[in-house]
């Protein structure tokens, strides 16, 4: 039972957190033909855009209402209207997804009201899918923006289903948290299909941001789930929500359509995947394919091989709540000590992190804790690179953004296979660090006379 505390600092140093509006835009990127639109100053969009481009190494669609100082004061109706019209006319999207920002929330723009007005004024937009989500920058974090936006998608885009309607038993909705990569979604799709299930992912970043070469020049998203498919998600037999952040959307789905849901808070590690695979076997009525039996064995074996290196490690981890919970739990189960855990925002999973304490803080906090507690493995997103080089401990990049390495979209942590590759990568990182930095020398154990309790760092 971890104690969750919040940093008391006035100054955040080396933020771990990113803002919630771009978390919202990120969710819209998983819809087909979408244009995410931030209602704010153009910097709000351009920073987010740059972050996504650096992470995925892809052109990413994202627009702005380009609020000027004057517009901010007068209210942004005109900007929202003009932005929607411009996008609608120029890029011919299938949906525009709007998130508010700090600027427009401070003023208090009634964007839902604006949209009603715009639909009235422009009949061509009457039925055009427009989803708006309030996501001020000065509250919550990236993950919250995703959470709220997906929940809102369900509320706005899924057709209600009457109780007792016939369901398609093979159809399954999957609501993935923002901590899953396109590679994770590809893997989940394969697994579900191997059980004969037909999954609908909302959102589906695997279709849009998996780094394939597009079939045409289009300024909106390419791939992703279509608005038409979303509308019919109420016909599915089950909803699978992945990550606690997706409970809200799953509940919305259930409320709207009666589709029952099962929440998997984690999909990294042996037991979580046992539960997942058993569940799929149950709902599909099919036995577990040999492939997954073998993959399970491979994971168990990988755990045995790697536990010598991961076990006993003092982990410092900084990540958004669901990723933090998932990775730190897996590493705890491999024998690592979760010595420093920092996150961005509140979540019910935090108190179940296998650490004494979880701090809602920044990377300075993480670095200080890692140093004070003698951590010897750092896991966080690319912004941790400076801390890692100062701490001189092995650094595993996890989460968003990962801008200083390639292939971020294809990293996997879900499934037996994803977990297997992850623990191999981590162990190899530790082994390489040992070779590079901790070779024994004649002076390694030449301690001053302060007692054996002071064990040299390379002994851990």
């Amino acid at each position: 039972m971890a104690i969750v505390t919040t940093s008391k600092k006035a100054c955040s140093v080396n933020p771990l957190k990113m803002s919630q509006p771009i978390g919202g835009s990120f969710a819209f990127m998983g819809l087909r033909g979408a244009m995410p639109l931030l209602h704010g100053s153009q910097g709000c969009t351009s920073f987010g855009l740059t972050l996504f481009v650096r992470h995925f190494k892809e052109a990413v669609p994202m627009q702005t209402t380009a609020m000027s100082e004057v517009a901010t004061v007068l209210g942004g109706y005109e900007n929202v209207e003009q932005a929607i019209l411009n996008i609608y006319n120029r890029t011919k999207p299938e949906i525009i997804g709007i998130n508010s920002t700090g600027v427009t929330e401070t003023k208090g723009d009634d964007v839902e009201g604006f949209i009603r007005l715009i639909r009235q004024k422009h009949p061509q937009l009457e039925k055009f899918p427009l989803v708006y989500v309030s996501t001020p920058d000065f509250k919550d974090a990236f993950q919250d923006g995703w959470e709220k936006t997906v929940a809102r998608m369900v509320e706005v885009l899924v057709d209600p289903v009457e109780a007792g309607a016939v369901r398609d038993v093979e159809r399954v909705n999957v609501l993935p948290g923002c901590h899953l990569t396109p590679g994770d979604l590809d893997e989940l799709r394969t697994i579900l299909e191997d059980f004969g299930l037909k999954p609908s992912f909302l959102p589906d970043l695997a279709g849009s941001l998996d780094g394939h070469i597009p079939d045409e020049f289009t300024p909106t998203t390419i791939g992703g789930i279509g608005v038409d498919e979303i509308a019919t998600m109420g016909q599915a037999a089950w909803t699978i929500a992945i990550g606690a952040q997706m409970k809200r959307a799953a509940e919305a789905m259930q409320e709207r359509t009666g589709v029952p849901f099962r929440l998997f808070e984690r999909l990294c590690g042996l037991i979580p995947n046992d539960e997942f695979i058993a569940f799929l076997s149950e709902i599909s009525g099919r036995p577990v394919p040999v492939k997954y039996r073998r993959q399970r064995g491979q994971l168990a074996d990988a755990m045995l091989d790697t536990h010598f290196h991961i076990g006993g490690r003092k982990l410092a981890i900084g990540a958004e709540p669901d990723l933090l919970f998932d990775l730190s739990s897996m590493l705890y189960e491999m024998g690592a000590e979760v010595a420093a855990a920092v996150t961005t925002t509140a979540s019910p999973v935090l108190e179940r992190v296998k650490a004494q304490e979880v701090l809602i803080g920044d990377l300075e906090d993480l670095e200080d804790l890692a140093k004070a507690r003698g951590c010897d493995l750092l896991v966080t997103h690319s912004h941790g690179r400076q801390a890692a080089s100062r701490l001189k401990i092995p650094f595993y990049r996890a989460g968003f953004p990962m801008f200083d390495r390639l292939g971020a979209g294809h990293l996997m942590s879900v499934g037996y296979r994803g977990t297997r590759d992850l623990v191999f990568d981590l162990a190899n990182l530790v082994i390489a660090d040992r070779e590079d930095n901790h070779q024994p020398t004649p002076d390694t154990w030449r301690t001053t006379d302060t007692g054996l309790q002071v064990v040299p760092p390379q002994l851990h």
Partner: protein, 555 residues
């Protein structure tokens, strides 16, 4: 009028700026706030610009006052290199929360300054204002002043909320902050007749270190580089330089001009991109220093070094000639670079089949014409599809551009090289130009392209997205060509002013109907160039094209 508005107006009055010089008083008053188009804008904001300009000061704590978006989404994203402190790479922000919005964020800001000083003890703190605290009325000038007094340390307010305008406005607002609060606040231990400032150089990928050894060899001391690898104290005493070189025309011209005005430091606009430009800049630095009292022999030494470096560079480039024979380059970049690298590329045997002039001044364009001839392809704004067509039509072998257009080139399986800020290679000075050749050679001859251009064997020929796009465009072109009326309609339908959606036909009609000869005239009748002003050049070209026959007619 608030002090920020005044500063902005002041910046837009900048006489050193070619663009402003051409604007009417009224236009200038509007500043840049109008040039952003909802649903169609892409660039960064003023805060972004301010941060870009100042962040390369390495020993300063850069503290961003605002909600998490401004700093949390953007930090550690620039490739400037430091030879000393790494404090500039750390990120500091007040990460304002809802309570701060309601009750004001000044207290948090003050506490944040205190924390930064206690923990990191920097020689100075730059505090960046952003939109939300500006909206709720946080007075960062007052907070900075109070903190500076309390902690006995410079705390510099940089008033640059994003919504006041685009990046280049932010560059200038940053410059204003330096002028108002920093420059002239310290004295160097000593001065020499060889002291210069470099203004607007960010030392991306450490590329300034490609030219600095030559300055060192000549005994020329960089008193302050604003801001690449810069230090606060150097900046504070930079007013004692004998001369200055302004590297990027748009970014901090106000700093250069006002330092000339206030401290009599003459400056010139130069570039270290390209061999000729590097030599010209070195000569100009020497000339200015001699003018300001340095011994005349400096010029001889400079010429000797230039001769040696040029010889070495040309010799090094020689080996690329056979590799570059018949290879064509499309250059998509802005401003100075659009022509400054052209000469070197041409010398190495590359043919430049087009260069973008989106951000270029009239002078830039003249230089391009000089270098590439009257028929130079000068490319304005293009859609990705158009850019692809251009690549194909011009039969270019490689595109050099900034990161933004990279995906167009790459996804079209065209060799591409980053020559803007995100690149990891330095291309400055003589050695940098050779480096550029090497990278071009690598990109050109990568066998990968041939593979990527092959369609998958199970795709029928002609159904790849490129061929589809091309076929579509060619069909349209054929249609147009077949029908003169359609061709004319298409020609006239070409959009000239994107902000106000004015096409070529409307402008031509207005010119013909009203005998307009000025851009202002066109604007009055068509509203073209009434927005961001970017199309001014295009309108001028149209006027020129119409003036010629009229003049002829008049003769």
């Amino acid at each position: 009028m608030s002090s920020l508005s005044a500063t902005i107006q002041d910046v837009f009055n900048e006489p050193g700026c070619g663009k402003n010089a051409n604007k009417t008083e009224a236009e200038r008053k509007k500043g840049c706030t109008k040039q952003l188009q909802p649903g169609g804008a892409a660039g960064g904001c003023a805060f972004d610009g301010a941060k870009i300009a100042l962040q390369p000061f390495t020993d300063v704590a850069h503290l961003v006052h605002g909600p998490i978006a401004c700093e949390g989404n953007s930090w550690d994203n620039r490739g400037s290199a430091s030879s000393g402190s790494d404090l500039w790479r750390r990120s500091f922000t007040t990460d304002m929360n809802e309570t701060d919005i309601v009750f004001g964020g000044e207290k948090r800001l003050y506490k944040a300054i205190k924390e930064v000083i206690e923990k990191y003890d920097p020689p100075a703190i730059f505090v960046y204002q952003t939109c939300v605290p500006a909206m709720i009325g946080d007075d960062i000038n007052a907070v900075c002043k109070a903190a500076a007094t309390k902690f006995g340390k410079p705390v510099i307010p940089v008033n640059s909320p994003g919504f006041v305008g685009p990046k280049n406005l932010g560059n200038k607002l940053a410059g204003e902050a330096l002028l108002e609060h920093v420059i002239g606040t310290a004295e160097p231990d000593y001065t020499t007749p060889y002291d210069i400032n470099i203004i607007g150089e960010y030392n991306l990928s450490g590329e300034f270190w490609q030219i600095k050894p030559i300055l060192d060899e000549l005994g020329i001391r960089i008193l302050s580089c604003i801001s690449g690898d810069g230090k606060y104290r150097e900046l504070a005493y930079s007013h004692r330089a004998k001369a200055a070189m302004m590297v990027c025309s748009k970014a901090m011209i106000n700093v250069a001009r006002k330092m000339e005005e206030r401290y009599g430091i003459p400056f010139f606009e130069g570039s270290f991109y390209g061999i000729q430009d590097s030599s010209d800049s070195l000569r100009e630095i020497a000339r200015m220093l001699i003018e300001r009292g340095a011994p005349a022999e400096l010029m001889e030494r400079t010429e000797a070094v230039i001769a040696r470096e040029e010889a070495k560079a040309w010799a090094a480039i020689e080996r690329f000639k056979p590799r570059f024979k018949d290879k064509k380059v499309l250059l998509i970049t802005g401003g100075v670079k659009s022509w400054s690298v052209v000469a070197a590329l041409q010398e190495a045997g590359l043919e430049i089949v087009g260069t973008s002039v989106k951000k270029s001044t009239k002078e830039d364009k003249e230089r391009i014409k000089e270098l590439m001839g009257q028929d130079a392809h000068m490319i304005e704004d293009m859609t990705p599809r158009e850019m692809y067509k251009m690549l194909k039509d011009a039969r270019a072998d490689i595109m050099l551009s900034g990161g933004k257009s990279q995906f167009v080139a790459l996804k079209a399986a065209m060799p591409w090289l980053d020559i803007n800020q995100e690149r990891s290679h330095g291309y400055m000075g003589y050695i940098g130009m050779v480096e550029l050749m090497e990278e071009i050679e690598k990109a050109l001859y990568n066998p990968m392209w041939a593979q990527l251009r092959k369609p998958a064997p199970w795709d029928e020929a002609g159904v790849s997205w490129q061929t589809k796009a091309m076929a579509q465009m060619e069909a349209q072109a054929a249609e147009i060509a077949a029908e003169p009326a359609v061709a004319e309609a298409t020609r006239r339908a070409k959009k000239i002013c994107f902000c106000k959606t004015v096409d070529l036909g409307s402008i031509e009609d207005a010119i013909a109907a009203h005998g307009i000869t000025t851009v202002d005239g066109v604007k009055q009748h068509t509203n073209a160039s009434g927005g961001c002003g970017a199309c001014k050049g295009r309108v001028e070209d149209i006027l020129a094209a119409h003036a010629a026959p009229m003049l002829q007619a008049a003769e």
